[in-house]
Amino acid sequence: MDPDIVSLWITLRLAFVTTLVLIIVGTPLAWWLSQSKGFTRNIVEPLVALPIVLPPTVVGFYLLIVFSPTSLPGQVWQSVTGSTLAFSFPGLVVGSIIYSLPFYVQPLQVAFSNLRRELIEAAATLGAGPMDRFFNLIVPLCRRGFIIAICLSFAHTVGEFGIVLMIGGNLPDETRVLSIALFDHVEALDYDRAHVIASGLLIFSFVLLFTLYSLDRQWQKTPVGERSS
Protein backbone atom coordinates (compact mmCIF):
# COMPACT_ATOMS: atom_id res chain seq x y z
CA MET A 1 0.00 0.00 0.00
CA ASP A 2 1.13 3.53 -0.65
CA PRO A 3 2.95 4.68 2.52
CA ASP A 4 1.01 7.98 2.40
CA ILE A 5 -2.27 6.08 2.54
CA VAL A 6 -0.91 4.21 5.56
CA SER A 7 -0.03 7.57 7.10
CA LEU A 8 -3.54 8.86 6.38
CA TRP A 9 -4.99 5.80 8.04
CA ILE A 10 -2.75 6.19 11.11
CA THR A 11 -3.67 9.88 11.33
CA LEU A 12 -7.40 9.25 11.15
CA ARG A 13 -7.18 6.40 13.62
CA LEU A 14 -5.16 8.57 16.00
CA ALA A 15 -7.59 11.49 15.72
CA PHE A 16 -10.59 9.22 16.14
CA VAL A 17 -9.26 7.38 19.20
CA THR A 18 -8.01 10.60 20.76
CA THR A 19 -11.35 12.34 20.29
CA LEU A 20 -13.20 9.35 21.69
CA VAL A 21 -11.04 9.29 24.81
CA LEU A 22 -11.41 13.07 25.14
CA ILE A 23 -15.21 12.78 25.04
CA ILE A 24 -15.07 10.26 27.86
CA VAL A 25 -12.41 11.98 29.96
CA GLY A 26 -12.76 15.61 28.93
CA THR A 27 -16.52 15.94 29.36
CA PRO A 28 -16.58 15.26 33.12
CA LEU A 29 -13.45 17.37 33.48
CA ALA A 30 -15.10 20.31 31.66
CA TRP A 31 -18.20 19.91 33.83
CA TRP A 32 -16.15 19.85 36.99
CA LEU A 33 -14.21 22.95 35.93
CA SER A 34 -17.44 24.78 35.10
CA GLN A 35 -19.17 23.94 38.37
CA SER A 36 -16.59 23.89 41.12
CA LYS A 37 -14.76 26.62 42.90
CA GLY A 38 -11.72 26.25 45.00
CA PHE A 39 -8.02 25.70 45.05
CA THR A 40 -7.81 22.36 43.20
CA ARG A 41 -9.93 23.68 40.37
CA ASN A 42 -7.79 26.81 40.13
CA ILE A 43 -4.70 24.63 39.75
CA VAL A 44 -6.26 22.24 37.25
CA GLU A 45 -7.66 24.93 34.95
CA PRO A 46 -4.28 26.37 33.89
CA LEU A 47 -2.80 22.86 33.73
CA VAL A 48 -5.42 21.93 31.15
CA ALA A 49 -4.63 25.08 29.17
CA LEU A 50 -0.84 24.62 29.26
CA PRO A 51 -0.54 22.77 25.92
CA ILE A 52 -1.91 25.85 24.16
CA VAL A 53 1.10 27.95 25.15
CA LEU A 54 3.86 25.38 25.61
CA PRO A 55 5.96 24.35 22.62
CA PRO A 56 4.87 20.82 21.70
CA THR A 57 8.46 19.73 22.07
CA VAL A 58 8.36 20.56 25.78
CA VAL A 59 5.27 18.41 26.30
CA GLY A 60 6.88 15.73 24.13
CA PHE A 61 10.13 15.84 26.07
CA TYR A 62 8.46 15.28 29.41
CA LEU A 63 6.23 12.57 28.00
CA LEU A 64 9.30 10.83 26.63
CA ILE A 65 10.77 10.82 30.12
CA VAL A 66 7.54 9.55 31.67
CA PHE A 67 7.25 6.85 29.00
CA SER A 68 10.79 5.59 29.51
CA PRO A 69 11.08 2.12 31.07
CA THR A 70 13.00 3.65 33.98
CA SER A 71 9.99 5.71 35.14
CA LEU A 72 7.08 4.21 37.03
CA PRO A 73 4.35 4.78 34.40
CA GLY A 74 6.67 3.41 31.73
CA GLN A 75 7.40 0.34 33.86
CA VAL A 76 3.72 -0.30 34.57
CA TRP A 77 2.86 -0.02 30.88
CA GLN A 78 5.67 -2.36 29.94
CA SER A 79 4.76 -4.98 32.50
CA VAL A 80 1.13 -4.92 31.34
CA THR A 81 1.61 -4.80 27.57
CA GLY A 82 5.15 -6.04 27.10
CA SER A 83 6.13 -3.05 24.96
CA THR A 84 7.20 0.52 25.56
CA LEU A 85 4.91 3.52 25.22
CA ALA A 86 7.50 5.63 23.48
CA PHE A 87 7.58 5.20 19.70
CA SER A 88 4.26 3.32 19.64
CA PHE A 89 0.72 4.14 18.57
CA PRO A 90 -0.65 4.02 22.16
CA GLY A 91 2.08 6.46 23.13
CA LEU A 92 0.92 8.79 20.35
CA VAL A 93 -2.64 8.54 21.65
CA VAL A 94 -1.55 9.53 25.15
CA GLY A 95 0.44 12.47 23.78
CA SER A 96 -2.43 13.61 21.57
CA ILE A 97 -4.94 13.44 24.41
CA ILE A 98 -2.81 15.72 26.54
CA TYR A 99 -2.01 18.03 23.66
CA SER A 100 -5.62 18.33 22.42
CA LEU A 101 -7.21 18.42 25.86
CA PRO A 102 -7.68 22.22 26.03
CA PHE A 103 -9.27 22.25 22.58
CA TYR A 104 -11.91 19.84 23.82
CA VAL A 105 -12.34 21.07 27.39
CA GLN A 106 -12.45 24.82 26.89
CA PRO A 107 -15.38 25.19 24.46
CA LEU A 108 -17.35 22.72 26.53
CA GLN A 109 -16.51 24.44 29.78
CA VAL A 110 -17.81 27.72 28.35
CA ALA A 111 -21.02 26.02 27.19
CA PHE A 112 -21.53 24.44 30.61
CA SER A 113 -20.93 27.71 32.46
CA ASN A 114 -23.47 29.49 30.26
CA LEU A 115 -26.19 26.99 31.03
CA ARG A 116 -29.04 28.51 32.99
CA ARG A 117 -28.94 26.78 36.33
CA GLU A 118 -32.70 27.07 36.73
CA LEU A 119 -33.27 24.81 33.73
CA ILE A 120 -31.31 22.04 35.39
CA GLU A 121 -33.12 22.67 38.65
CA ALA A 122 -36.46 22.46 36.90
CA ALA A 123 -35.47 19.08 35.47
CA ALA A 124 -34.48 17.91 38.96
CA THR A 125 -37.84 18.87 40.46
CA LEU A 126 -39.53 17.06 37.57
CA GLY A 127 -37.88 13.85 38.75
CA ALA A 128 -34.78 13.70 36.53
CA GLY A 129 -31.71 12.32 38.30
CA PRO A 130 -28.17 13.55 37.62
CA MET A 131 -27.42 11.23 34.65
CA ASP A 132 -30.87 11.76 33.18
CA ARG A 133 -30.40 15.53 33.44
CA PHE A 134 -27.00 15.31 31.82
CA PHE A 135 -27.97 13.24 28.80
CA ASN A 136 -31.47 14.55 28.22
CA LEU A 137 -31.06 18.20 29.06
CA ILE A 138 -27.48 19.35 29.31
CA VAL A 139 -26.19 17.52 26.22
CA PRO A 140 -28.93 18.81 23.90
CA LEU A 141 -28.68 22.32 25.36
CA CYS A 142 -24.91 22.33 24.90
CA ARG A 143 -24.84 20.56 21.55
CA ARG A 144 -23.11 23.54 19.97
CA GLY A 145 -20.31 23.37 22.55
CA PHE A 146 -20.00 19.62 22.04
CA ILE A 147 -19.74 19.86 18.27
CA ILE A 148 -17.17 22.63 18.44
CA ALA A 149 -15.15 20.72 21.03
CA ILE A 150 -15.24 17.49 19.03
CA CYS A 151 -14.33 19.14 15.72
CA LEU A 152 -11.53 21.21 17.20
CA SER A 153 -9.91 18.35 19.08
CA PHE A 154 -10.20 16.06 16.04
CA ALA A 155 -8.72 18.66 13.69
CA HIS A 156 -6.05 19.61 16.14
CA THR A 157 -4.96 15.99 16.51
CA VAL A 158 -4.81 15.62 12.73
CA GLY A 159 -2.56 18.67 12.53
CA GLU A 160 -0.17 17.77 15.32
CA PHE A 161 3.53 17.54 14.58
CA GLY A 162 5.98 18.38 17.32
CA ILE A 163 4.74 15.97 19.93
CA VAL A 164 4.55 13.13 17.44
CA LEU A 165 8.11 13.78 16.39
CA MET A 166 9.30 13.71 19.99
CA ILE A 167 7.46 10.66 21.28
CA GLY A 168 6.39 8.79 18.19
CA GLY A 169 9.39 9.07 15.98
CA ASN A 170 8.84 8.11 12.40
CA LEU A 171 7.92 4.44 12.17
CA PRO A 172 6.23 3.84 8.82
CA ASP A 173 3.47 1.47 9.92
CA GLU A 174 3.13 2.64 13.49
CA THR A 175 3.64 6.34 14.11
CA ARG A 176 4.19 8.12 10.81
CA VAL A 177 1.21 10.48 10.66
CA LEU A 178 0.49 12.79 7.71
CA SER A 179 2.31 15.80 9.08
CA ILE A 180 5.46 13.69 9.56
CA ALA A 181 5.10 12.18 6.11
CA LEU A 182 4.86 15.68 4.69
CA PHE A 183 8.05 16.65 6.50
CA ASP A 184 9.79 13.57 5.06
CA HIS A 185 8.73 14.39 1.52
CA VAL A 186 9.97 17.95 1.83
CA GLU A 187 13.29 16.78 3.24
CA ALA A 188 13.59 14.36 0.30
CA LEU A 189 12.67 17.22 -2.05
CA ASP A 190 9.69 15.16 -3.28
CA TYR A 191 7.46 18.24 -3.70
CA ASP A 192 4.78 16.47 -5.71
CA ARG A 193 3.91 14.13 -2.89
CA ALA A 194 4.34 16.97 -0.38
CA HIS A 195 1.78 18.99 -2.35
CA VAL A 196 -0.78 16.19 -2.18
CA ILE A 197 -0.57 15.93 1.60
CA ALA A 198 -0.28 19.67 2.25
CA SER A 199 -3.22 20.62 0.04
CA GLY A 200 -5.26 17.73 1.42
CA LEU A 201 -4.71 18.91 5.00
CA LEU A 202 -5.41 22.50 3.97
CA ILE A 203 -8.69 21.62 2.29
CA PHE A 204 -9.74 19.35 5.14
CA SER A 205 -9.11 22.05 7.73
CA PHE A 206 -10.85 24.73 5.69
CA VAL A 207 -13.94 22.64 5.01
CA LEU A 208 -14.17 21.69 8.66
CA LEU A 209 -13.90 25.25 9.93
CA PHE A 210 -16.23 26.55 7.20
CA THR A 211 -18.88 24.02 8.17
CA LEU A 212 -18.42 24.77 11.84
CA TYR A 213 -18.82 28.52 11.41
CA SER A 214 -21.86 28.07 9.15
CA LEU A 215 -23.54 25.84 11.68
CA ASP A 216 -22.69 28.33 14.36
CA ARG A 217 -24.31 31.21 12.46
CA GLN A 218 -27.41 29.12 11.96
CA TRP A 219 -27.61 28.27 15.66
CA GLN A 220 -27.23 31.87 16.61
CA LYS A 221 -30.38 32.60 14.66
CA THR A 222 -32.22 29.90 16.58
CA PRO A 223 -30.45 29.95 19.91
CA VAL A 224 -30.66 26.64 21.63
CA GLY A 225 -30.08 26.65 25.33
CA GLU A 226 -28.35 29.97 25.37
CA ARG A 227 -28.58 32.08 28.44
CA SER A 228 -31.62 34.21 27.87
CA SER A 229 -31.27 36.62 30.74
Binding site: L119, E121, A124, L126, G129, V224
Partner: protein, 358 residues
Protein backbone atom coordinates in the same frame (compact mmCIF):
# COMPACT_ATOMS: atom_id res chain seq x y z
CA UNK B 1 -50.71 16.67 56.01
CA UNK B 2 -47.97 18.95 57.09
CA UNK B 3 -44.60 20.33 56.17
CA UNK B 4 -42.19 20.81 59.01
CA UNK B 5 -39.44 23.28 58.37
CA UNK B 6 -36.64 24.23 60.73
CA UNK B 7 -33.95 26.48 59.37
CA UNK B 8 -31.12 28.29 61.12
CA UNK B 9 -29.03 29.76 58.38
CA UNK B 10 -26.48 32.52 58.41
CA UNK B 11 -24.63 33.62 55.32
CA UNK B 12 -21.32 35.42 55.22
CA UNK B 13 -23.15 38.41 53.78
CA UNK B 14 -25.04 38.73 57.07
CA UNK B 15 -28.24 37.38 55.52
CA UNK B 16 -30.05 35.25 58.09
CA UNK B 17 -32.98 32.90 57.94
CA UNK B 18 -34.38 31.62 61.21
CA UNK B 19 -37.57 29.70 60.83
CA UNK B 20 -39.33 26.97 62.74
CA UNK B 21 -42.76 26.33 61.29
CA UNK B 22 -45.17 23.54 60.57
CA UNK B 23 -47.27 24.33 57.55
CA UNK B 24 -50.59 22.56 57.18
CA UNK B 25 -50.35 21.50 53.57
CA UNK B 26 -53.92 20.65 52.76
CA UNK B 27 -54.48 24.07 51.23
CA UNK B 28 -52.80 26.96 49.52
CA UNK B 29 -50.27 28.48 51.86
CA UNK B 30 -48.72 31.75 50.83
CA UNK B 31 -45.34 32.96 52.01
CA UNK B 32 -45.73 36.71 51.89
CA UNK B 33 -42.91 39.18 52.29
CA UNK B 34 -40.79 41.74 50.52
CA UNK B 35 -37.97 40.65 48.25
CA UNK B 36 -34.88 39.62 50.14
CA UNK B 37 -36.92 38.43 53.11
CA UNK B 38 -35.75 34.85 52.67
CA UNK B 39 -38.85 33.40 50.99
CA UNK B 40 -37.03 31.95 48.02
CA UNK B 41 -34.33 30.45 50.23
CA UNK B 42 -37.03 28.59 52.15
CA UNK B 43 -38.49 27.23 48.92
CA UNK B 44 -35.10 26.06 47.73
CA UNK B 45 -34.53 24.27 51.01
CA UNK B 46 -37.97 22.63 50.82
CA UNK B 47 -37.29 21.31 47.32
CA UNK B 48 -33.70 20.35 48.07
CA UNK B 49 -32.29 22.60 45.35
CA UNK B 50 -30.20 24.12 48.08
CA UNK B 51 -28.51 22.21 50.83
CA UNK B 52 -27.41 23.85 54.03
CA UNK B 53 -26.48 22.86 57.55
CA UNK B 54 -28.94 23.17 60.42
CA UNK B 55 -31.95 22.45 58.25
CA UNK B 56 -34.74 20.00 58.95
CA UNK B 57 -37.43 19.36 56.37
CA UNK B 58 -40.17 16.79 56.93
CA UNK B 59 -43.15 16.29 54.69
CA UNK B 60 -46.07 14.22 55.98
CA UNK B 61 -43.76 12.47 58.43
CA UNK B 62 -41.16 11.65 55.78
CA UNK B 63 -37.76 13.16 56.42
CA UNK B 64 -36.41 15.05 53.44
CA UNK B 65 -33.52 16.54 55.30
CA UNK B 66 -32.03 16.47 58.76
CA UNK B 67 -28.52 16.13 60.19
CA UNK B 68 -28.00 12.69 58.65
CA UNK B 69 -30.33 12.56 55.66
CA UNK B 70 -30.73 14.42 52.44
CA UNK B 71 -33.23 13.34 49.83
CA UNK B 72 -32.13 14.79 46.47
CA UNK B 73 -34.63 17.07 44.69
CA UNK B 74 -35.50 14.54 41.98
CA UNK B 75 -36.79 12.13 44.62
CA UNK B 76 -38.92 14.60 46.56
CA UNK B 77 -41.89 14.84 44.20
CA UNK B 78 -42.23 18.59 44.50
CA UNK B 79 -43.52 20.47 41.51
CA UNK B 80 -41.76 23.80 41.19
CA UNK B 81 -42.93 26.77 39.18
CA UNK B 82 -40.08 29.23 38.92
CA UNK B 83 -40.15 32.99 39.02
CA UNK B 84 -38.28 33.32 35.74
CA UNK B 85 -39.58 31.76 32.57
CA UNK B 86 -38.03 28.38 32.63
CA UNK B 87 -39.27 26.07 29.90
CA UNK B 88 -36.65 23.90 28.22
CA UNK B 89 -35.79 25.99 25.16
CA UNK B 90 -34.88 23.05 22.91
CA UNK B 91 -38.28 21.41 23.28
CA UNK B 92 -41.75 22.44 22.17
CA UNK B 93 -44.41 23.09 24.78
CA UNK B 94 -45.60 19.53 24.22
CA UNK B 95 -42.02 18.27 24.58
CA UNK B 96 -41.77 20.07 27.90
CA UNK B 97 -44.94 18.36 29.12
CA UNK B 98 -43.64 14.98 27.96
CA UNK B 99 -40.40 15.49 29.84
CA UNK B 100 -42.41 15.75 33.05
CA UNK B 101 -44.82 12.96 32.16
CA UNK B 102 -42.05 10.42 31.43
CA UNK B 103 -40.44 10.95 34.79
CA UNK B 104 -43.38 11.09 37.10
CA UNK B 105 -43.31 8.76 40.00
CA UNK B 106 -46.70 7.14 40.18
CA UNK B 107 -49.76 6.90 38.06
CA UNK B 108 -51.45 10.20 38.31
CA UNK B 109 -55.13 10.84 38.31
CA UNK B 110 -54.30 13.91 36.27
CA UNK B 111 -54.06 13.24 32.55
CA UNK B 112 -52.28 15.44 30.07
CA UNK B 113 -55.64 16.32 28.58
CA UNK B 114 -56.98 17.50 31.95
CA UNK B 115 -54.00 19.73 32.51
CA UNK B 116 -54.04 21.09 28.97
CA UNK B 117 -57.70 21.98 29.31
CA UNK B 118 -57.37 23.43 32.76
CA UNK B 119 -54.65 25.83 31.67
CA UNK B 120 -56.06 26.32 28.18
CA UNK B 121 -52.84 25.57 26.33
CA UNK B 122 -54.05 23.19 23.61
CA UNK B 123 -53.21 25.64 20.83
CA UNK B 124 -49.73 26.31 22.21
CA UNK B 125 -48.46 22.74 22.34
CA UNK B 126 -46.62 22.69 19.03
CA UNK B 127 -44.80 25.96 19.65
CA UNK B 128 -41.34 26.48 21.03
CA UNK B 129 -40.93 28.52 24.21
CA UNK B 130 -39.49 31.52 22.37
CA UNK B 131 -42.66 31.69 20.27
CA UNK B 132 -44.84 32.04 23.37
CA UNK B 133 -45.61 35.13 25.43
CA UNK B 134 -44.53 35.29 29.07
CA UNK B 135 -47.98 34.44 30.35
CA UNK B 136 -48.31 31.54 27.93
CA UNK B 137 -44.91 30.17 28.92
CA UNK B 138 -45.84 30.33 32.56
CA UNK B 139 -49.10 28.47 31.93
CA UNK B 140 -47.16 25.71 30.17
CA UNK B 141 -44.66 25.69 33.05
CA UNK B 142 -47.50 25.23 35.54
CA UNK B 143 -48.91 22.42 33.40
CA UNK B 144 -45.47 20.82 33.28
CA UNK B 145 -45.13 20.97 37.07
CA UNK B 146 -48.62 19.48 37.52
CA UNK B 147 -47.94 16.64 35.10
CA UNK B 148 -45.03 15.43 37.20
CA UNK B 149 -47.73 14.51 39.72
CA UNK B 150 -46.21 16.43 42.61
CA UNK B 151 -47.14 15.77 46.20
CA UNK B 152 -46.50 19.42 46.88
CA UNK B 153 -46.68 22.24 44.34
CA UNK B 154 -44.35 25.14 44.95
CA UNK B 155 -44.77 28.42 43.13
CA UNK B 156 -42.08 31.06 43.49
CA UNK B 157 -43.56 34.37 42.36
CA UNK B 158 -45.01 32.63 39.30
CA UNK B 159 -46.43 35.91 38.00
CA UNK B 160 -43.31 37.89 38.82
CA UNK B 161 -41.82 37.94 35.36
CA UNK B 162 -44.94 38.69 33.34
CA UNK B 163 -46.66 41.99 32.67
CA UNK B 164 -49.75 43.19 34.47
CA UNK B 165 -52.15 42.41 31.62
CA UNK B 166 -50.91 38.83 31.43
CA UNK B 167 -51.15 38.57 35.19
CA UNK B 168 -54.82 39.40 35.24
CA UNK B 169 -55.36 36.77 32.57
CA UNK B 170 -53.42 34.06 34.37
CA UNK B 171 -54.88 34.54 37.87
CA UNK B 172 -58.18 32.84 36.97
CA UNK B 173 -56.21 29.74 35.92
CA UNK B 174 -54.50 29.67 39.27
CA UNK B 175 -57.86 30.01 40.98
CA UNK B 176 -59.19 27.15 38.93
CA UNK B 177 -56.27 25.01 40.11
CA UNK B 178 -57.04 26.00 43.63
CA UNK B 179 -60.65 24.90 43.18
CA UNK B 180 -60.19 21.61 41.37
CA UNK B 181 -56.91 20.12 42.52
CA UNK B 182 -56.17 18.46 45.77
CA UNK B 183 -52.43 19.13 45.56
CA UNK B 184 -51.20 21.29 48.42
CA UNK B 185 -49.61 24.50 47.20
CA UNK B 186 -46.97 26.74 48.70
CA UNK B 187 -47.13 30.06 46.95
CA UNK B 188 -44.52 32.74 47.37
CA UNK B 189 -45.28 36.32 46.53
CA UNK B 190 -44.64 39.88 47.53
CA UNK B 191 -47.79 41.04 45.67
CA UNK B 192 -50.71 41.52 48.02
CA UNK B 193 -53.43 41.12 45.38
CA UNK B 194 -52.13 37.71 44.30
CA UNK B 195 -51.93 36.45 47.85
CA UNK B 196 -55.42 37.73 48.65
CA UNK B 197 -56.96 36.06 45.63
CA UNK B 198 -55.14 32.77 45.86
CA UNK B 199 -54.16 31.78 49.38
CA UNK B 200 -55.99 30.10 52.24
CA UNK B 201 -53.32 30.65 54.85
CA UNK B 202 -50.65 33.31 54.82
CA UNK B 203 -47.28 33.18 56.53
CA UNK B 204 -45.71 36.61 56.59
CA UNK B 205 -41.94 36.70 56.50
CA UNK B 206 -39.65 39.61 57.16
CA UNK B 207 -35.82 39.53 57.34
CA UNK B 208 -35.74 35.74 57.43
CA UNK B 209 -38.22 35.42 60.28
CA UNK B 210 -41.88 34.45 60.44
CA UNK B 211 -43.81 37.42 61.77
CA UNK B 212 -47.33 36.04 61.52
CA UNK B 213 -49.33 33.07 60.36
CA UNK B 214 -53.05 33.54 59.78
CA UNK B 215 -56.03 32.37 57.74
CA UNK B 216 -56.51 34.55 54.68
CA UNK B 217 -59.57 36.28 56.21
CA UNK B 218 -57.55 37.49 59.20
CA UNK B 219 -54.43 38.18 57.18
CA UNK B 220 -56.41 40.51 54.92
CA UNK B 221 -57.58 42.59 57.87
CA UNK B 222 -54.68 42.40 60.34
CA UNK B 223 -51.71 41.39 58.18
CA UNK B 224 -48.85 43.62 57.12
CA UNK B 225 -50.63 44.33 53.82
CA UNK B 226 -53.72 45.93 55.33
CA UNK B 227 -52.27 49.44 55.06
CA UNK B 228 -51.32 49.03 51.40
CA UNK B 229 -53.41 50.89 48.78
CA UNK B 230 -54.48 47.56 47.24
CA UNK B 231 -55.66 46.08 50.55
CA UNK B 232 -58.97 44.25 50.57
CA UNK B 233 -61.11 42.09 52.79
CA UNK B 234 -61.81 38.48 51.95
CA UNK B 235 -65.20 37.23 53.09
CA UNK B 236 -67.32 34.09 52.85
CA UNK B 237 -70.99 34.08 51.98
CA UNK B 238 -73.76 31.70 50.95
CA UNK B 239 -75.79 32.05 47.76
CA UNK B 240 -79.49 32.42 48.49
CA UNK B 241 -81.03 32.85 45.07
CA UNK B 242 -80.24 33.83 41.54
CA UNK B 243 -81.92 36.88 40.04
CA UNK B 244 -81.79 36.13 36.32
CA UNK B 245 -83.62 39.32 35.33
CA UNK B 246 -80.80 41.48 36.63
CA UNK B 247 -77.97 38.97 36.32
CA UNK B 248 -77.36 39.14 40.03
CA UNK B 249 -76.88 36.55 42.72
CA UNK B 250 -78.36 37.25 46.13
CA UNK B 251 -76.03 36.11 48.86
CA UNK B 252 -76.30 35.99 52.59
CA UNK B 253 -73.44 37.50 54.57
CA UNK B 254 -73.61 37.28 58.35
CA UNK B 255 -77.41 37.52 58.29
CA UNK B 256 -77.48 40.47 55.87
CA UNK B 257 -78.15 40.43 52.14
CA UNK B 258 -75.69 41.32 49.39
CA UNK B 259 -75.88 41.26 45.61
CA UNK B 260 -73.18 39.99 43.30
CA UNK B 261 -72.87 40.33 39.55
CA UNK B 262 -72.87 36.61 38.87
CA UNK B 263 -75.21 34.30 37.07
CA UNK B 264 -74.42 30.66 37.48
CA UNK B 265 -75.06 29.91 41.11
CA UNK B 266 -77.37 27.59 42.93
CA UNK B 267 -78.80 28.37 46.35
CA UNK B 268 -76.52 27.01 49.04
CA UNK B 269 -73.24 27.53 47.16
CA UNK B 270 -70.50 28.77 49.44
CA UNK B 271 -68.42 31.45 47.78
CA UNK B 272 -65.47 33.60 48.68
CA UNK B 273 -65.34 37.24 47.62
CA UNK B 274 -62.88 40.07 47.79
CA UNK B 275 -63.89 43.59 48.75
CA UNK B 276 -61.19 46.20 48.10
CA UNK B 277 -60.82 48.66 50.96
CA UNK B 278 -60.91 51.62 48.58
CA UNK B 279 -64.37 50.56 47.33
CA UNK B 280 -65.85 50.71 50.81
CA UNK B 281 -67.26 53.86 52.39
CA UNK B 282 -68.96 54.50 55.74
CA UNK B 283 -72.05 56.54 56.70
CA UNK B 284 -73.71 57.21 60.02
CA UNK B 285 -77.27 57.13 58.63
CA UNK B 286 -78.63 54.52 56.29
CA UNK B 287 -78.74 56.04 52.80
CA UNK B 288 -82.34 56.12 51.50
CA UNK B 289 -81.80 56.19 47.78
CA UNK B 290 -78.43 55.19 46.45
CA UNK B 291 -77.16 53.41 43.37
CA UNK B 292 -75.01 51.34 45.69
CA UNK B 293 -76.75 48.02 46.27
CA UNK B 294 -74.70 46.64 49.07
CA UNK B 295 -75.11 48.51 52.32
CA UNK B 296 -74.34 46.59 55.47
CA UNK B 297 -74.98 47.48 59.05
CA UNK B 298 -71.75 47.05 60.92
CA UNK B 299 -69.71 48.00 63.96
CA UNK B 300 -66.40 49.78 63.93
CA UNK B 301 -63.81 47.38 65.29
CA UNK B 302 -60.60 49.34 64.96
CA UNK B 303 -59.34 52.55 63.41
CA UNK B 304 -55.84 52.79 61.97
CA UNK B 305 -55.15 56.47 61.69
CA UNK B 306 -51.55 57.00 60.60
CA UNK B 307 -51.73 60.59 61.88
CA UNK B 308 -50.57 62.02 58.57
CA UNK B 309 -51.39 61.73 54.90
CA UNK B 310 -54.87 61.78 53.42
CA UNK B 311 -56.23 58.35 54.30
CA UNK B 312 -56.97 56.09 57.22
CA UNK B 313 -58.06 52.46 57.34
CA UNK B 314 -61.11 51.46 59.35
CA UNK B 315 -61.87 47.86 60.25
CA UNK B 316 -65.59 47.17 60.56
CA UNK B 317 -67.22 43.99 61.84
CA UNK B 318 -70.36 42.34 60.51
CA UNK B 319 -71.03 39.45 62.83
CA UNK B 320 -68.01 37.15 62.78
CA UNK B 321 -66.42 38.65 59.70
CA UNK B 322 -64.66 41.92 59.09
CA UNK B 323 -64.24 44.39 56.23
CA UNK B 324 -61.73 47.12 55.53
CA UNK B 325 -62.71 50.66 54.60
CA UNK B 326 -60.18 53.09 53.25
CA UNK B 327 -61.52 56.56 53.96
CA UNK B 328 -60.07 60.05 54.21
CA UNK B 329 -58.80 61.23 57.54
CA UNK B 330 -60.99 64.31 57.04
CA UNK B 331 -64.13 62.13 56.98
CA UNK B 332 -62.87 60.21 59.98
CA UNK B 333 -62.78 63.43 61.99
CA UNK B 334 -65.98 64.95 60.58
CA UNK B 335 -68.02 61.81 61.24
CA UNK B 336 -66.31 61.48 64.60
CA UNK B 337 -65.96 57.72 64.18
CA UNK B 338 -64.93 55.64 67.18
CA UNK B 339 -64.51 51.94 67.84
CA UNK B 340 -67.85 50.41 68.84
CA UNK B 341 -69.93 52.86 66.75
CA UNK B 342 -72.64 51.44 64.50
CA UNK B 343 -72.11 52.50 60.87
CA UNK B 344 -73.47 51.66 57.45
CA UNK B 345 -70.86 50.18 55.20
CA UNK B 346 -71.38 50.91 51.51
CA UNK B 347 -69.65 48.56 49.11
CA UNK B 348 -69.11 49.68 45.56
CA UNK B 349 -66.99 46.89 44.15
CA UNK B 350 -67.06 43.18 44.81
CA UNK B 351 -64.82 40.62 43.16
CA UNK B 352 -65.62 36.97 43.16
CA UNK B 353 -62.71 34.73 44.05
CA UNK B 354 -63.70 31.12 44.27
CA UNK B 355 -66.83 29.22 43.50
CA UNK B 356 -66.19 26.63 46.10
CA UNK B 357 -65.44 27.75 49.57
CA UNK B 358 -63.78 24.74 51.16
Amino acid sequence: MSLELRVALERDSGFEVNVDITIATDRVTALFGSSGSGKSTLLRLITGLERADNVVVRFNGETWQDENNFVPPHQRCTGYVFQHLNLFPHLTAAGNLEFAEKRRHKNSSLSRQDVVEMLDIANLLQKRPDQLSGGEQQRVAIARALLSNPRLLIMDEPLGSIDTAARTRILPYLQRLHDTLKIPVIYVSHALDEVLEFADTVISIESGKVISEAPIFDFAIDGPGAEQPTSAAIIRCVVESQDHDHALATVSFEGQTMYLAAEHYRPGDMIRIKIPARDVSLTREKPRSSSILNILESTIAEINDPGLGPTAVVKVACGEQRLLARITRKSLIELNLKPGDIVFTQIKGVALITDHER
